[in-house]
């Protein structure tokens, strides 16, 4: 009964979404508000029905309804309560429901916020949002039905993929999907702008905050994904340039480019065409990412291969790209630049360069991701593109971006005078050079590491300089120091939110540099009571212990870690799940600001007399997570409603 209800709700929602999309468009063409109102009601109905679908699926998980194939595939009687809830989005069908629900939620918020303010654009925004919703509902009802039945009904389910039994998996997909679906809103506004011909700044102003919201969630999702990879997968890394990671990273890059180029259009009336193209590209990349991860076209460690769904996504991607680019071509004449670039040494050109580099990075990631397919299509040779390619191409781009991060916010608009340059950059440049000398003297001899650290210090100095100046101005006007600082952050939250994001990126850059340049590892087999040493740490193998958990069997080793004095006992383990062929590693670690100690259990003797252990000392990795927190806090600050400037 429950599954049929869910299925029925999805079908009705599909009908409503189709009607709504059509009605809003008709309403806009004929100028009949009643039709737009009807579309609005349809959107509310879609939200209610999709919410019901999600709730029903959750109910099926909580009650172990194994007659539903999706439930049987992703849970079993031993699955703990929390993971029965997260199991809902543990695989394809359910994640599409979650995705659709979020999209419906965004549509709802768009209605609440913009039905009055966006008069001309609003009906078309509704059409696009509902159109995209209709596509996802079509997937739910036809290509990947989550409520499909299973015959015969098994006594127990298969169980969730054990790697997904982690708290990170509760939040990671949710954040990532909120980011992905959130990017639909700017796309809808861009389409509405193209359709109505109102390609000026209105759509841009209305969608800027939306883009930051989506960007915030996308960043959060990527960071949690990295953290999950680091502490669950047991290879000691946080980013592998896997196609699925790339799928989320590419729209992040183009959305970042958009957030910057928006400022040029606002200030200088330039780049209208470019901004629209960026929004289209970003939305296209979210669809492409979904296609990539759901179609099984490109091999990846966490891609699921699933029948017809790939064709659905490809069809929709085709429709979206051809329509959007067609509209762009149609409005070509209206999209000419009104401003012009005055000088190469100006904020405009710094931002332009930033855009070029971000899009170039997105392109190289894209190229590397589809290259295996290209190679097979053109030459018939199967190849794989690994981390070396991505690192080699992207590291210089990212270094350039960090440099621009220091230049962009402080250099003058239009044309920077020599005086402006000296006033803003002499100090930071000297600080950066001094930092380079300092790190070199400290024994950092890798040119790349010295360069990265020096650039980081340079950018940090520009931020400090700007903040100090602004605070001084306020302090002169009689404000005490701390309220002056707080007031700055609050009053100019967009500018200083941006600075905080930049600081977060700098901290992440330090963490990445440190972990790449200075991490060390060793792998060794130890008898009971024997020790090994690495980077000043001594690790002694104490014993092995086996235990029966609710849905798996666990063998854990106990290792005492000391650096002269005993720091604690780490217990890396192997988990044996009945439904998995090979055991799942369970990493144990001790995080620190300077370095993490990271232990992975390898093979072991059954009697517990010997065990192989991989010991890693990973340097500065914690700063990646700290930088992530700073970055998201900055994005949060930038999202806050802007307050009027004090006169």
């Amino acid at each position: 009964m429950i599954p049929e209800l869910g299925y029925g709700a999805a079908i009705v929602a599909l009908g409503l979404a189709l009607w709504g999309a059509l009605a809003a468009a008709l309403g806009a063409r004929t100028g009949r508000p009643a039709l737009v109102l009807s579309a609005q009601h349809a959107a509310l109905g879609v939200f209610a029905l999709v919410t019901a679908c999600l709730a029903l699926l959750m109910y099926a998980f909580l009650t172990f309804d194994f007659s539903v194939r999706y439930v049987a595939t992703n849970t079993n009687l031993g699955t703990p309560f929390y993971y029965r809830i997260t199991g809902v989005w543990g695989a394809l069908e359910g994640s599409i429901i979650l995705w659709t629900w979020m999209l419906a939620l965004y549509t709802l918020i768009v209605i609440l916020r913009h039905r009055e303010s966006a008069r001309e654009l609003y009906p078309w925004v509704l059409t696009v949002m509902l159109g995209v919703l209709a596509f996802f509902l079509l997937v739910i009802t036809v290509a990947a039905p989550p409520f499909a039945r299973l015959h015969p009904v098994p006594a127990d389910g298969h169980g969730l993929n054990p790697l997904l039994e982690d708290t990170g998996m509760i939040t990671h997909p949710v954040a990532l999907y909120l980011g992905f679906t959130g990017l639909t809103v700017p796309f809808a506004f861009a389409m509405a702008a193209l359709i109505t011909g109102r390609v000026g700044d209105a759509w841009l102003t209305m969608t800027r905050r939306w883009t930051i919201v989506a960007w915030y969630f996308l960043s959060l999702g990527l960071l949690i994904g990295g953290w999950w990879s680091y502490h669950v997968l047991g290879w000691g890394g946080y980013w592998a340039w896997d196609p699925v990671e790339n799928a989320a990273f590419m729209p992040w890059l183009t959305a970042t480019a958009f957030l910057h180029s928006v400022m040029i259009q606002e200030r200088r009336r330039m780049l209208q065409l470019w901004n629209l193209a960026l929004v289209i590209m970003t939305f296209g990349l979210t669809l492409f990412g979904t296609f990539l991860t759901r179609s099984g076209v490109i091999a990846s460690v966490h891609a699921f291969t699933q029948g017809t769904i790939g064709a659905f996504f490809l069809g929709f991607l085709t429709l979206v790209l051809l329509t959007a680019l067609g509209l762009l071509a149609w409005r070509w004449d209206a999209l000419g630049a009104q401003g012009a670039l005055d000088s190469v040494v100006s904020r405009e050109s710094a931002f332009l360069l930033n855009n070029v580099m971000l899009v170039a990075a997105a392109f190289t990631v894209f190229f590397g991701t589809v290259f295996p397919l290209l190679s097979e299509a053109l030459r018939g040779v199967k190849v794989s593109v690994g981390a070396p390619f991505f690192n080699q191409v992207n590291v210089p781009l990212f270094l350039g971006l960090i440099f621009l991060m220091g230049v962009g916010p402080l250099i003058a608009w239009r044309r920077a005078s020599v005086d402006n340059l000296r006033r803003n950059f002499l100090g930071p440049v000297l600080t950066g050079v001094a930092a380079a000398a300092f790190f070199f003297a400290l024994g950092v001899h890798s040119a790349l590491a010295v360069l990265t650290l020096a650039l980081t210090v340079f950018v940090a100095a520009t931020i400090a300089l700007d903040f100090a100046r602004a605070t001084r101005v306020r302090a002169r006007m009689g404000e005490p120091l701390l309220p002056a600082m707080g007031g700055l952050l609050r009053r100019h939250n967009r500018r200083y939110g941006g600075f905080v994001v930049h600081l977060g990126v700098l901290i992440i850059a330090v963490g990445v540099t440190g972990s790449q340049a200075w991490s060390v590892q060793t792998e060794t087999t130890l008898g009971r009571g024997e020790s090994t040493e690495l980077a000043g740490y001594r690790v002694r193998f104490e014993d092995l212990a086996a235990s029966e958990e609710s849905n798996h069997f666990k063998v854990a080793g106990a290792f005492t870690v000391s650096d002269g004095r005993v720091l604690g006992v780490l217990r890396p383990a192997k988990k044996f799940y009945p439904q998995e062929q090979s055991p799942i590693a369970y990493v144990d670690y001790r995080l620190g600001l300077r370095e993490d100690i990271y232990l992975v259990l390898g093979d072991f003797a059954r009697d517990g007399s010997r065990a192989t252990v991989k010991l890693q000392v990973n340097r500065l990795v914690s700063w990646i997570w700290i930088g992530g927190l700073v970055l998201t806090a900055g994005a949060g600050l930038a999202i806050l409603p802007e307050t009027k400037r004090t006169a």
Binding site: P154, L321, G326, P578
Partner: protein
């Protein structure tokens, strides 16, 4: 071409990419190369669920389809079980043998699975997991096609379809036994 006309090339720029992605569907990620293809199939001697002995060596001269499965493996094993049974009935008189090897399973669950699907071809548990190790299986379901001379000729990862079985079996049947 006039200035106004070339802008319509913009949407067309997306076409090569879309074509490339569409090409991706023609590539079958389930056809996984195995170092065993072309080599003699590792022999095994198992005891079927109905207690009859089941050895691979005794099947020389027949085309053998060795299918690794488990009762907890679905949807894939549930999808292909009827397919296998159908193929077995269609090809048994033409010198084809289907062998099911049940791995990492309990006897009760496996027998219920065989009953539920009415499987009539021989099925045997692999209690020590030796056979699946010898064949280097990634997971279940996985299927190996062995020719009349006892060599592995193809490997299929994931659920079988009628087409896949037909293609492989017909090809092997067409070859001379010697």
């Amino acid at each position: 071409m006039s200035r106004r006309a070339w802008r319509w090339l913009i949407p067309l720029a997306a076409l090569p990419l879309l074509a490339l992605l569409a090409y991706g569907f023609r590539v079958n990620p389930r056809e996984i190369p195995s170092p065993l293809v072309g080599r003699p199939a590792p022999g095994f001697a198992l005891t079927a669920f109905d207690a009859t002995p089941l050895t691979l060596d005794a099947q020389r001269g027949r085309v053998v389809v060795v299918n690794f499965w488990a009762s907890w493996c679905y949807p894939a094993c549930y999808e292909e079980a009827p397919v296998l049974e159908r193929s077995w009935r269609a090809y048994r008189d033409r010198g084809v043998l289907v062998i099911g090897v049940d791995i990492q399973d309990t006897v009760e669950a496996a027998q219920k699975f065989i009953r539920d699907f009415g499987l009539s071809f021989p099925n045997a548990p692999d209690p020590t997991g030796k056979v699946s190790v010898d064949y280097g299986t990634y997971g279940v379901p996985e299927t190996f096609f062995i020719d009349r001379r006892g060599r592995i000729r193809a490997r299929h990862v994931g659920a079988l379809t009628d087409d896949v079985i037909r293609a492989h079996v017909e090809r092997l049947l067409a070859e001379p036994a010697g």
